[in-house]
């Protein structure tokens, strides 16, 4: 019993299953990069996957520093890459 959730990542419209994290959806779509680092602009995806390392931080509905590996997708959610 899975229901489809629609959300956006940097204005791209994406869909995932209820209960999935933002990072899980991005990885399942083959686009694992969630942000570029502040100084060196290096791409980052998830690392610890359980909310410890904060490598996967994104802006969720305007709130920065949200962990993409923990935050579950919600209908209409707007996710942005964090500079």
């Amino acid at each position: 019993m899975s229901s489809v959730i629609e959300f956006t990542f940097d204005d791209k419209e994406l869909t995932g299953e209820k209960g999935q994290s933002i990072a899980a959806v991005l990885i399942s779509l083959g686009t694992p990069i969630v942000r570029l680092t502040r100084f060196e602009k290096q791409p980052r995806s998830i690392f610890c996957g359980i909310g410890i390392c904060f490598d996967c931080v994104v802006i969720v509905d305007g709130v920065a520093n949200q962990r993409a590996c923990l935050t579950q997708i919600r209908q209409g959610m707007s996710v942005r890459s964090q500079p």
Binding site: Q42, C48, F54, V57
Partner: protein
């Protein structure tokens, strides 16, 4: 009321034991569901002895004495008029609960070591790869290489294969012959043989052949560099084998998170393998009155030991007698935990894999050479000074990933050992979770 922080095997066992003895329990977890890292917050747990998880889930759900407070990140706790106040964030809002007693069961996370390329997308912990398929039904990549050390690599590799991933290799740095050093621990834990057989069968079913004495020492553009290593982790020779993969999942056992107990003043100690853990007595009571600690935070020993410790802590906190049988069981499981340490040591040879450019602090993007410069040119003698000079460990993760490695690098450069007090200092942080200054200011105004 008893507050239990962490709803993994230890916290669940503690909750059920305390509730059966008539205590009222508030069970906190940062996740949506209970289960912790192994039973993974899903109701349909699969894997070795999965029915055990269901038993605890059912007991928690059906107990009128247990309230599960989900998605609640406990960021601090403090003593207040003989009681203990638990400060937590739930959906961005701050709340608190005041209780008589606390059981900390906050678990652990994968221990990681740096290598060139470990900060590229595709490099992750085995725990991350497992969390993706167990918790979210997503396989991390097309070709996955599992490496590092410890028995945890087995459920990850077989679980991924079962989930349909192409596992291109399973590299265990240590030799299985090291188990021969712990014959008594094995004899005291005969059930572990069944677990081993369970995994050997799965390895065969998915045609997975572990390769021993090998480690990932670099990763770039979808290619992992593999070196032959001994238990010191020093690379043997200069030859490197290459394995093409889009995910390299490397982990070196587990590292407990001691921040919350540290904030409450619970005394810590350094375990044989350098891990900082809590000091507890035979009833899992910490150095602080009314605070018990169970599970990985008192020493890494796996889910079975976590359950036993949780049960003991739950009984003790609710004032019930602890059966001798349970204490004997814990003693045998402790022996097994020691055998794990002997069988899967993490040497310091990794310091030879890293290059000057290798990122050591992922959050603040501090390189190996920047840390060395802080020692050789700026005179840093410990990780605290190096941290102030380089910002290593000052990012959002508060040094959870890098501080142990930074301390090792500094000690190596200064040709000394990391002191126990430095290990403890490097493992503690003023908040158990980063929170915004606004929340902190609101919290202060409560005082």
């Amino acid at each position: 009321m008893i507050a239990i922080i962490g709803a993994g095997p230890a916290g669940l066992a503690a909750a059920v034991a305390a509730a059966r003895s008539g205590a009222e329990v508030a069970l906190f977890d940062a996740s949506t569901n209970f289960g912790g890292q192994y039973w993974r917050h899903r109701t349909d747990v699969a894997g070795y002895k999965a029915e055990r998880a269901q038993k605890y889930f059912d007991a928690v759900i059906s107990s009128p004495n247990i309230t599960f407070i989900s998605e609640a990140q406990v960021w601090s706790a403090e003593r207040r008029d003989g009681l203990i106040q638990i400060n937590y964030l739930q959906g961005g809002a701050e709340s608190f609960l005041t209780v008589e007693k606390v059981i900390l069961a906050t678990g652990a996370h994968d221990r990681t070591l740096p290598f060139p390329g470990w900060d590229y997308p595709g490099s992750m912990t085995p725990g991350a790869a497992q969390a993706l398929y167990k918790g979210h039904g997503v396989v991390a990549g097309k070709r996955i290489l599992i490496a590092g050390s410890g028995p945890f690599l087995l459920p990850v590799a077989t679980g991924l294969a079962e989930a349909g991933a192409h596992v291109v290799g399973l590299l265990e740095a240590n030799s299985p012959l090291r188990w021969a050093r712990s014959p008594i621990a094995l004899l005291r834990n005969p059930l572990k043989f069944f677990e081993l057989i369970y995994y050997l069968r799965l390895l065969r079913r998915y045609s997975l052949k572990p390769q021993f004495g090998a480690a990932v020492v670099g990763y770039e553009n979808g290619v992992a560099q593999i070196a032959r290593v001994g238990s010191s982790l020093r690379a043997k020779g200069v030859d490197r084998r290459e394995i093409a993969c889009d995910v390299v999942a490397v982990g070196w056992g587990f590292q407990p998170d001691v921040s919350l107990g540290g904030i409450l003043g619970c005394v810590e100690k350094v375990d044989r393998d350098g891990t900082v853990i809590f000091q507890v007595d035979s009833s899992q009571l910490s150095s602080q009155a009314n605070i018990w600690i169970a599970g990985e935070a008192t020493g890494i020993g796996g889910a079975d030991l976590s359950i036993t410790e949780g049960e003991i802590a739950g009984l003790a906190a609710s004032g019930s007698e602890i059966p001798k049988k349970l204490l004997r069981k814990r003693s045998a499981q402790h022996a097994f935990a020691r055998a794990l340490q002997k069988s899967y040591p993490v040497g310091d040879g990794w310091k030879e894999w890293i290059t000057p450019e290798t990122t050591i602090c992922r959050c603040e993007e501090v390189s190996h050479s920047a840390i060395l410069d802080s020692i050789h040119e700026l005179g840093a003698e410990d990780s605290r000074t190096a941290k102030l000079l380089t910002r290593a460990g000052m990012g959002l993760c508060q040094g959870r990933i890098c501080s142990r490695n930074v301390a090792e690098i500094i000690a190596g450069a200064r040709k000394c050992e990391v002191s126990p007090s430095e290990r403890i200092a490097a493992s503690n942080r003023p908040l158990a979770a980063p929170i915004s200054l606004g929340v902190l200011a609101d919290g202060e105004s409560l005082n």
